[in-house]
Symmetry: C2
Subunit: 259 residues, 2 copies
């Protein structure tokens, strides 16, 4: 466009020059600013239950309580990149399905100061975070129970493997609740359950994953029809072996062009 070459009458210089001068003089310290963090709700399906990965806080506030992996956004990194970094630093996870979820900004959600949290949800094959929990002692895998049906929404409850209830720091139970709600919504029109399984999987495994997320049984035949019709599944030609019954075909995720 001709934008850069037009003259700014008030200053007798080009607009671009006027804008440059303004930016040089701009003082970002002139008003109070909140801090911005990312928090990642990791979701996996393990033993027919939803589970998540938490990190034990070593610092105040909420010291010694469980929290979602999270951290402050660096001044020159994008939000997505911050989420990836946090996931790698706190949970040693790379290349997971990651999607922005919702931004939580209640002024009192963090007692330190104003912290706005851009939350993400991530889906992983549970095998990948088992090993993470073995290596770092602050990390635990918690079972997640959803006290509401469908897409009602609200916080979820967490418990340890021994059944003891786990309380989450900040509003992290709400973040997880939002993640489950979003996930349930997505399942209605995407077979996103792939992301929670190994590369190759059977249709029954996929069905169990969907059932666990939705919290209700699904009908086998129509589930199959729907999945195969989605065009996002690809038969590998291989079968699972040594299972004491007719071997099921293995499928894989088929990368496609459309959304």
């Amino acid at each position: 466009m001709t934008y850069k070459h037009r003259v700014d009458k008030s200053l007798g210089v080009t607009r671009a020059e006027a804008e440059r001068r303004f930016l040089d003089a701009y003082d970002p310290e002139s008003y109070a600013r909140p801090s911005v963090a990312v928090d990642v709700a990791l979701v996996a399906v393990r033993e027919d239950a939803l589970s998540t990965l938490t990190v034990l806080r070593t610092e105040h506030p909420f010291r010694r309580m469980h929290a979602l992996p999270g951290g402050f956004v660096q001044i020159d990194e994008s939000l997505d990149r911050a989420a990836e970094r946090v996931l790698e630093e706190k949970a040693a996870l790379r290349n997971v399905y990651l999607e922005q979820l919702y931004t939580f900004g209640h002024p009192k959600r963090d007692p330190r100061t104003r912290v706005i949290s851009v939350s993400y949800f991530a889906l992983v094959d549970p095998a990948r975070f088992e090993e993470c929990a073995r290596t770092s002692p602050e990390v635990s895998v918690c079972r997640l129970s959803v006290p509401w049906a469908g897409e009602t929404g609200g916080p979820v409850k967490l418990s340890r493997t021994d059944g003891a209830a786990v309380r989450l720091a900040f509003d992290h139970a709400d973040i997880l609740g939002m993640a489950v709600r979003r996930l349930r919504g997505k399942l209605e029109y995407t077979p996103i359950g792939f992301q929670l399984l190994p590369d190759h999987f059977t249709l029954l495994e996929l069905q169990r994953v969907h059932e666990t997320i939705l919290g209700r049984p699904l009908e086998k035949n129509s589930f199959r029809r729907r999945m195969l019709a989605s065009g996002q599944l690809e038969a590998t030609g291989e079968s699972q072996r040594g299972v004491g019954h007719r071997p099921p075909e293995l499928y894989r995720f088929a990368r496609r062009s459309a959304t």
Copy 2:
């Protein structure tokens, strides 16, 4: 819980006390923080076209370009509240349907400094922003055209009433694009078009609104069936009068319990 009464061994004080001391000593200035803004994508349907409301920028950067109504989040207000305030300050609008959309955080999206934008979308009866455009000269109502089908996504194009193209500041064309995509998605399972119409409306008016948003014609009978089956519409018993043909029944939005 017994949390507050347990003793923190490292200090010989209660945890609550240790946490209080920590918070008093906490220095929020110790790392660089981004600024946080809210930007509101106002959407209305006018003359069978999507339209939006923009504000002419009087300051650098992007001085004299159109932008979505937006502003910085105050240190003690929630994000939702900030969006409401901005809408009132910049567009003199209150009590509109407002929903958080997505958070944009590319490090270079604002040339001044790092600004993270929590975007919202708002739906209004177009009559309400016509009057706003008449009163304040910085405000204009732009026609919006969507260069993609379905829920593909991407930026949208804006034009003035005289047809001239309007370029938006920052990444605001992407924000509007995201708003349209989300709106299209929501229409599949909610009759959210209410929010774009006066209190009482006919089913045909509602259908036209849906068609404009989706960018494709809808079948009359199945649209009616779907809307009435949704349970979110309530017949008022009144009819539109003086229309030169059989008068259509007027409906209103029925507040309900479920999501």
